[in-house]
Symmetry: C2
Subunit: 381 residues, 2 copies
Amino acid sequence: MAVYLDNNATTALDEKVLDVMLPYMGQVTGNPSSVHRFGRLQKDAIEQARESVAQLVGARAEQVIFTSGGTESNNLLLNGFSQRNKGCKIAVSAIEHMSLLEPALQLVPEAEIIAADENGCIRLEAVQQTVTEQASLISVMMANNETGVIQNLSPLIDFAVEQNCFFHTDASQVAGKVALDFVASGVHAMTISAHKLYGPIGVGALILDKRLPLSKIQFGGSQEKNLRAGTENVPAIVGFGKAASLAIDELQATSSHLRNLRDALEKGLKELSAISIFAEQAERLPNTVQFGIDGFDGETMLMQLDRKAIAVSSGSACTSGKTEPSHVLKAMRVPDVLANSAIRVSFGKNNTMSDVQALLLALRDIIEINQQSPVMMAATV
Amino acid sequence: MAVYLDNNATTALDEKVLDVMLPYMGQVTGNPSSVHRFGRLQKDAIEQARESVAQLVGARAEQVIFTSGGTESNNLLLNGFSQRNKGCKIAVSAIEHMSLLEPALQLVPEAEIIAADENGCIRLEAVQQTVTEQASLISVMMANNETGVIQNLSPLIDFAVEQNCFFHTDASQVAGKVALDFVASGVHAMTISAHKLYGPIGVGALILDKRLPLSKIQFGGSQEKNLRAGTENVPAIVGFGKAASLAIDELQATSSHLRNLRDALEKGLKELSAISIFAEQAERLPNTVQFGIDGFDGETMLMQLDRKAIAVSSGSACTSGKTEPSHVLKAMRVPDVLANSAIRVSFGKNNTMSDVQALLLALRDIIEINQQSPVMMAATV
């Protein structure tokens, strides 16, 4: 039985989520834009899901714009904002997901990059140093997908508000693991994704304070308050709603379960030689551990673990296959050789303590074999 | 039991399609960008689906770019082309779906509009008259979603090729109803959508000849040959593959079944008073009839039919709720009052001859009641 420890890349769809999606997959059809009874049924289902997603993030239903996923949400925010506010100045952190960083740099070439400290934290001083001119939009992710570092956003949001600047945060990795309160936090926009919280792939949301001026970037129909043309993905949206409701109900239990697994793994890792846990001193997501193993290549280790039927990642799934060290670890001034040895373990609610033990055992085996016979290890690569 | 006659808006998911999707909804998880076994399994499933979709349209697998749907495919084509070829000249037909027409006009404000004739056909002379300067891209849909008119694209494609100009066609309404041959047709890009052919919502494709230069418009990961960032919607893509395979197998039987229903409806309509079938003289999709009823308002008729549990549309679902007459009928010089009376019936493979009879009976009832007592009809509106 293979062990899946890559839940920051994607989570397995919850059976209870699938159950509510199935009636919208063939039994009931209709385009939610249609005005007849088939269409109205679909429309109602969307609005019910919107309420649940709003509740998960502490927003009002009308602030939820459904998209095809987190990548589209980040692109809608960046592209929609820069289209609407020509010549705007924006600042984004150095540790953002590529779906935020790449559009920022492509669409606003003069975008400023806010540095991270060695713990992977974005400090107010860094924001103040970077955002010297009047910026229109600052984006700092709530928790990093690789290291799991959770940002202390309050002072950054206060700074943005003082500067009359909008603030966006990518909370894709946070929803379902830590409580969210969009309205109380003061952020103007937030990205979330269903398949990171046991919901379906193919749907995400941009939570949007209407004061933030945004153009649509996908044209055609006037769906989603005229901000996202295209037939709504009803079964996925319905599933997102259910995943959100479950996440609210299970938040305490899931977080505590994940934390137990994470703590057990970190304890075990410290008994192995030459392991460095990245951002160990920072507040982190309860499910994520990223570490380097001195003298090992991360991609090779990943494949060695895969042969032992254990799935981990070396960093973000979206940048897999790239040979460069992670831009997140680079931003934290981790030396390249250590960054290249990175392994990310991200637990999900379905993992158990025996998965932790299986991973520790496998790591110990691989490290010991290599220490006994480095050539043999290299030969199997 | 309600009768669904709005299959150009969306079709019901085929049970056989759902069956192949289910294993990818929870039982097997993994991000296709991940290099471990879970990820590879997802990747393999995508590539298998790509083969099936390619086969449906007569393309090579590497020409299939999966998107979140037809709207995104049209936007990727228009936006990606205009980004990559700054200052390019484009020409689009007046009867395109809004997901083509709106981005064309938004992104290339000087885009030229090719006129339709009174039968809803785009004639070579109209293209020649419009495209006087060197154009870089011409887009004419293969079959219209409202009238069902199928274009004779060959002379238009030949003209484009002579002019050293790329040619795109939106074939969303054609796939599964009429055989397609992307390579042989000489078009450079083609839009298709899964949920129009009994596949899942949330997935479409842009079939792309690599000679057509395109920029990505959604940034982040390098999925889909670096043309569409974002985690692939694996269950939907797998479902699209199966829907494509079924469409190939069932093409003859489905087309002939649809044509029988359509012909029976048209025969019945002609026995009613004051009915005009739009584009009656043109070659049309086997499943689509759009007609006007003298003295009636289309939206009102639609709601009257809805009360009798029959679902039709007045035009495109994506423009439902708009009070203006259809831009397609306007382009055909249909008088506004007749255009405003439009009803579109679009059959699907699940419809039966008794659905046709139910619709004809309901229409006769409504028309007769109104003729006997026009005031009563108005009062119920």
